[in-house]
Amino acid sequence: MQKVLVVEDELPLNQQLTDLLENAGYQAMGVTDGGTAFLAFQDFEPDLVLLDVMLPNKTGIEVCREIRAVSGVPIIMLTAKAEDEDVVDGLEAGADDYILKPMPSFKVLQARIEARLRPLRQPEFTEIILGPLVIDVLGHEVRRDGVRVALTPLEFNLLQTLAEAPKQVFKREDLLKKVWGYHYDADTRLVNVHVQRLRSKIEDDPDNPKIVVTERGVGYKAGQF
């Protein structure tokens, strides 16, 4: 049974979410305080975290950073303000995805959770060499000059998607569909922020990227080596 940690300070909403998650077949645990969220995470060892932005004692952004420092577990932010810096801050802190309150329905949230928990699709290759990187597809590991680079599952998925079709330019919408599992219009900021995060981990000079290249006006592709 997969475990979901719900960090949301509004107790009724927290309870409602955990109830619905349990109904949907997950093992759910609710935390209402930002200050204890990380401890709860370490105790519970969830497969996914639902994280509210506005939390007492510690903001969702800070909690997100704490978790990311030790784990690549999928994190979905819950936020009431789409237009604010919140979203970008959350994504930059390492959240994989976000969902706006009120979400259209629980089913939508469930779909987002499932997309993040879904086992990665059958790999076409067992190992891909992309410039200085060795991508061990089966072992979910990336090594750069023999040194392991810690990527979140989402970042790994993003890199793998680009690396498997080295000549193809992916539109942001394509990536949202392939990597995030969105089948309708979604926020392209998701792609931009995660490409930045990925670059900061694998590129020599993230401002002058060679591995994940921007194709102006279209999207991204893997660099040619």
Binding site: E10, L13, Q16, L20, N23, A80, E83, P102, F106
Partner: protein, 503 residues
């Protein structure tokens, strides 16, 4: 300033002219009186000399004449006096005395009319002004004539000619002094006027410039306050006014921002409880089989009202985003025909429910234009669903048109329509044409207000025309290229036009 100088100059000329005339007359009169006085004395003395002499001898008399008359000649700094003793014509005696006359004087210098006058008068001085030429200059002179009776020889006329050009010189000198003084005065006046005007006008000009800047929104502009004069007082009053304006506008915009923030905050604050209610409702929906019919109906009501609450909240947020100026359109090249078709097909189910036919008229060519497809589709969905709702089950016609500069959509229903006053308020927030009407789509009352904002974001027009019981037509016109100018919509709207547009 020019006027000031011109008026001063005119006044100066008038005063100067009057002065020089008065002084000139005065000078002349004084001189004439002096001349007459002298002449009277001289002629009386001459008469006395001749009366007193007992001589009857012509030679002796001639000698006397030759002694007395030339003595009357004078040549002083005050002017010269010339003399002539002429024999009166037509006398009985034939004793002639030689008539002595000053060297530079001739008989013809004495006017004949004066001679006639002298001949006719007794013991009286007669004078006349004449001009004598000397060294090529005409000098003003006075000729004073009187009768002198000489024993034996009869009546003679004594003429004394006074040169009064010195008086004229004085006058000329005075006049030229006046003229120079006047000119200097006018020049000084001009300079004074220039500085005074500068002192008064320059601050006024500055005030005008600052007022203009204030009007254009630079509320922190002020005038320099120097000194204690009227100008400084003006500057102080002006600055006080500007200060008060700035404070009040600042307060108003603060209030307005607070209000916008409040709406935005309230909307956000409501989202969390709304999410909870929604999720709870979903939980109930999942167990709908366990509920009795009444509870099911209650659940249905809960679901639909929560949905309505949610769309109201979304619209409120959208409007507050517009009010805060935080909306950015994602404008890209699009085909308006596609977007219209999409909106129409999305509303087919609603149209079917209400038994309304949707007629779509598209041009054969693609209607390409730059716009934000998400916003424009929202506008169209809103307009079309309104038309279906108010269309009284009659067909709704949606037409798309294009021109070189603009693209347009008209949505025409044949339903209940609106009165003029209703039409004027149709874009107002939370305004409803008929509050008693049952609303099928559960509109928020903000739909048209948002549609208008979306249209303005594209620099387009959203217009309406309507007649009660005949139907309503909405027309959306957008520029082909963003920022492009258009003056006419590619599609007609109708005769009555309530224009709510911005170019």
């Amino acid at each position: 300033m020019t006027l000031t100088v011109a008026l001063s100059a005119a006044a100066l000329v008038a005063v100067g002219g009057f002065l020089s005339l008065t002084i000139g007359n005065g000078l002349f009169q004084t001189r004439v009186e002096q001349v007459l006085q002298e002449s009277k004395q001289a002629s009386a003395e001459v008469q006395k000399t001749f009366t007193a002499t007992g001589n009857t001898d012509v030679l002796a008399l001639q000698t006397l004449v030759n002694e007395v008359i030339p003595n009357l000649e004078q040549n002083t700094a005050n002017g010269s006096r010339k003399v002539a003793l002429l024999r009166s014509p037509n006398q009985a005696t034939n004793q002639f005395l030689q008539s002595p006359i000053s060297g530079d004087l001739t008989v013809s210098d004495i006017p004949a009319t004066l001679r006639n006058q002298v001949a006719k008068t007794e013991n009286k001085l007669v004078y006349r002004t004449i001009y004598l030429e000397a060294d090529g200059v005409m000098n003003q002179s006075i000729v004073v004539g009187s009768k002198v009776v000489i024993p034996v020889a009869g009546d003679y006329e004594l003429y004394l000619v006074y040169d009064i050009s010195d008086a004229q010189e004085t006058l000329d000198f005075m006049q030229s002094t006046l003229a120079i003084g006047g000119l200097v005065m006018i020049l000084l006046l001009g300079i004074v006027a220039y500085f005074v005007t500068r002192r008064i006008v320059a601050p006024v000009e500055r005030a005008a410039i600052v007022a203009e800047q204030l009007a254009l929104g630079s509320l922190d502009k002020r005038l320099p306050e120097r000194g204690q004069d009227v100008v400084a007082a003006l500057a102080r009053s002006f600055n006080k006014m500007a200060q008060s304006l700035e404070t009040q506008i600042g307060e108003l915009s603060k209030l307005s921002k607070m209000q916008q923030r409040f709406v935005s905050d309230v909307s956000h604050e409501l989202r969390t409880p709304l999410t909870t209610i929604k999720l709870a409702t979903e939980m109930l929906e999942a167990r709908v089989e366990e509920l009795d019919p009444k509870a099911r109906r209650a659940l249905d009501t809960l679901v639909s009202q929560v949905a309505r609450f949610e769309s109201l909240l979304a619209d409120l947020l959208e409007i507050s985003r517009y009010d805060a100026g935080a909306v950015v359109a994602e404008i890209e090249p699009n085909n308006l025909g596609d977007v219209v078709s999409m909106a129409v097909s999305g509303l087919e189910p609603l149209a079917e429910t209400l038994g309304c036919e949707l007629i779509l008229k598209l041009p054969t060519r693609p209607v390409d234009a730059d716009f934000d497809p998400r916003r424009i589709e929202r506008v169209l969905r809103n307009l079309i669903s309104n038309a279906i709702e108010h269309g009284a089950g009659k067909p709704v016609e949606i037409q798309v048109g294009r021109s070189k500069t603009a693209v347009a959509v008209t949505i025409k229903d044949l339903g209940v329509g609106m009165s003029r006053s209703q039409m004027d308020r149709v874009f107002d927030r939370f305004w409803r044409g008929d509050p008693s009407r049952m609303r099928t789509t559960g509109g928020t009352g903000l739909g048209l207000a948002i549609s208008l904002e979306d249209t303005h974001l594209h620099q387009g027009w959203l217009q309406v025309t309507s007649k009660p019981n005949q139907g309503t037509t909405f027309r959306l016109t957008l520029p082909r290229r963003i920022g492009g100018i258009f003056t006419e919509s590619p599609l007609p709207l109708g005769e009555t036009l309530s224009q709510r547009s911005r170019i």
